[in-house]
């Protein structure tokens, strides 16, 4: 399979009054045509910023460096006119909160047709027909009547369906889904994810799914990129997620997912705060201050260690045996602040 998207050494910085914000610090990512990758991380980990940089939608104050190869061209070196021809046509984006990302005073139909009209892919009449077809395809009943409704007359789930239809109507090769289900009810989440998967298979497009939900990532993606402090700390195939994870941060994330079955105990969490990306970044490992396995090496930036096929981790631990560390042998207790067992 050919590579559809390759992000190389992406850096994004913002100059603010408090200092430079290091939002993305050397992101590398690869997506095969028709494949799905998930980017996972806490808020502030730079995942959405990286995708916004890909869409070239960052404010002008952002300093972006690196390469984003899409279809043989570097998105970061294109003129804004060339980028406009790609956006909404070859690369589409679905946003987190559809209520905010749709114009409240224009009808669903008007907004749905716009990608076709902006790119001169259809006459207004054809665009209307395609929009109606797409509304039906994404599961909106009585599409013709809904066509002239306004966003405030829709539920959140319905609006996200509209957003997805809007993303797909021009037939993109790449879809960026930025937390597409975060703002939705749990039952609706599953429907939307299923719909995304179906449509992806139908259209054979590649998808980058940004989420903070491990279950969603595991279910949807072939490969998962775990971001922390603007860096990928671990990249692994999603089937490795529950057994082969190596980075202490990813372990912490996986353990802090509440379970319905099993004994009820206090939910483990990762003590401490996410790394502050304002000003100078820590010299060493960005996670060190919260890491239960911290040791002396960690004051230097860890290398990217290859653990297997499509599995790398940015950590010193593979160089020492991690298992013997679990009881806090190095004087750092593997216990969260509230005394929970990690």
């Amino acid at each position: 399979m050919s590579v559809l998207l390759r992000i190389e050494d992406l850096y994004v910085q913002f100059g603010t009054d408090e200092g430079t914000v290091h939002a993305v610090n050397g992101l590398n990512l690869e997506l095969k045509a028709g494949g799905t990758v998930a980017i996972v991380g806490e808020s502030g980990s730079g995942k959405s910023t990286a995708m916004t940089a890909l869409m070239r939608l960052l404010p002008r104050t952002a300093r972006v460096s690196g390469h984003i190869w899409f279809d043989g061209q570097d998105l970061l070196s294109l003129s804004s006119r060339q980028v406009r021809r790609l956006r909404g046509h070859h690369i589409s984006m679905v946003f987190q909160n559809p209520m905010a990302y749709l114009n409240p005073t224009k009808t669903i139909g008007q907004q749905l047709m716009e990608p076709l009209l902006y790119h001169h892919l259809a006459t207004p009449r054809q665009a209307q027909q395609q929009a109606l077809d797409f509304l039906e395809r994404v599961g909106i009943a009585s599409a013709r009547a809904r066509f002239s409704s306004y966003p405030f007359e829709f539920s959140g789930g319905m609006l996200q369906r509209v957003m997805i239809a809007m993303g797909l109507i021009a037939g993109p090769k790449l879809l960026i889904a930025d937390e597409p289900t975060t703002a939705l009810d749990v039952t609706v989440q599953a429907e939307i994810l299923a719909l995304l998967k179906e449509l992806q298979a139908e259209h054979g497009m590649g998808m980058v799914l940004v989420t903070h939900d491990m279950a969603v990532a595991a279910q949807m993606a072939d490969e998962v990129y775990v971001m922390y402090g603007g860096m990928v700390v671990e990249h692994l195939p999603s089937h490795e997620l529950m057994k082969g994870e190596a980075h202490p941060y990813l372990r912490g994330l996986l353990r802090s997912i509440p379970r319905i079955d099993g004994r009820r105990e206090k939910l483990p969490f990762i003590a401490g705060n996410p790394v502050n990306t304002v000003g100078t970044l820590p010299h060493g490992c960005l996670f060190a201050s919260r890491c239960p396995h911290r040791r002396n090496q960690c004051s230097e930036r860890p290398p990217l260690v290859k653990l297997g096929d499509r599995h790398e981790v940015m950590c010193w631990l593979p160089y020492v045996d991690m298992e013997e560390d679990d009881d806090g042998q190095f004087g750092i207790q593997s216990v969260g602040a509230a005394g929970t067992h990690l």
Binding site: R87, G88, A100, K106, Y118
Partner: protein
């Protein structure tokens, strides 16, 4: 929608009566009378006094207008005559009834007000939009500086300045009287320029806020450009808050016409209105005050209706309050 309209019209009628009552009371409470305060009639009265006829004129007036009755009785006479369309005659112009007087002068005042507001709205939308889509450029800066100066200077100062430049220095436009549209240019500009000042700043900020909304990101993500984002999406939404500030301007505009008509010698109602107030010309005060209040209320109703045209949420869900 119809229910809303009916309710609003009922409000206007109620407000109308309250305004008439308050005006009547204040008018009566004000010291002085027509005979003392009107110089021309005052001279006659003085002459009459010297001829030993001192109270004849006053008595005639008092009898004709029931001026010796208690004020609430007088008010009742007023209301009754208003309902039966007998508006009475002005003290100042005893040969024309107030309706004719208003009919002769009001169209000019209304035309002046409407032209000014129309010019102000169109120009401030244009200037505000230009400044917003060229945010933080020299164009933005220049437009907003001019707008700030416009806001700070009141209309009668603008009027004098315009008269000086266009009338006295360059002899381009007439500065006095009314004999055709050319005579309207300077008065309209005088009223519009201060409004353009504040309204265009408001328009700029409102449009910029809309342009920074999330749904504008969607427009760009769909492949739209600044043009599509501004004119296809943001402009309409930024007109909503803009329309709300136009409403209060209307009332201020009505007062503005008073100065401007005086300055430019326009034979409008505002002129007559102020004269009537200072000479205690009761019938004329009542009728012109009520007319102004109705015009302002109707204009505010129109503003609210424009609101519903712009916002589908108001259109579909009806109104609250």
């Amino acid at each position: 929608m119809l229910k809303y309209l009916v309710r609003r019209v009922l409000y206007i009628i109620v407000a109308f009566f309250i305004v008439s009552l308050v005006t009547f009371f204040l008018m009566k409470a004000a010291p002085g009378s027509f005979l003392q305060l009107n110089q021309y009639v005052g001279n006659i009265a003085a002459a009459a006094t010297s001829m030993g006829l001192d109270n004849v004129v006053a008595q005639e007036l008092a009898k004709e207008y029931h001026l010796n009755d208690p004020w609430y009785v007088q008010y009742w006479y007023y209301v009754w005559h208003f309902i039966t369309f007998h508006m009475g005659y002005s003290f100042e112009f005893p040969n024309t009834d107030t309706v004719t007087l208003i009919r002769q002068t009001f169209p000019l005042s209304l035309g002046l007000a409407f032209t000014s507001i129309a010019v102000a709205v169109v120009l401030s939308i244009a200037a505000g939009t230009l400044a917003a889509i060229r945010e933080n450029t020299w164009m933005d800066g220049t437009t907003m500086f001019v707008a700030m100066v416009g806001t700070a200077v009141p209309s009668y100062v603008v009027a004098v300045f315009l008269m000086l430049v266009f009338g006295v220095w360059f002899h381009l436009l007439p500065v006095l009287g009314y004999q055709g549209p050319r005579y309207f240019v300077l008065p309209v500009l005088s009223l519009a320029i201060p409004m353009i000042g504040s309204m265009s700043r408001y328009m700029r900020n409102s449009l910029m806020e809309s342009l920074h909304s999330e749904y504008i990101v969607t427009v760009f993500a769909k492949g739209g450009g600044l043009w599509q984002a501004a004119f296809g999406h943001a402009l309409r939404n930024s007109l909503l808050p803009f329309v709300t500030v136009v409403g209060p301007h209307l009332a201020a505009l009505m007062m503005g016409t008073v100065f401007i008509e005086q300055l430019f010698g326009l034979p409008g109602l505002a002129h007559i209105f102020t004269d009537a107030a200072s000479t205690r010309d009761y019938p004329l005060i009542m009728d012109s005050t009520l007319l102004y209040s109705v015009v302002i209320m109707v204009m505010n109703l129109i503003v609210d209706l424009v609101y519903s045209v712009l916002d589908p949420r108001i259109r579909k869900f009806g109104y609250t309050g």
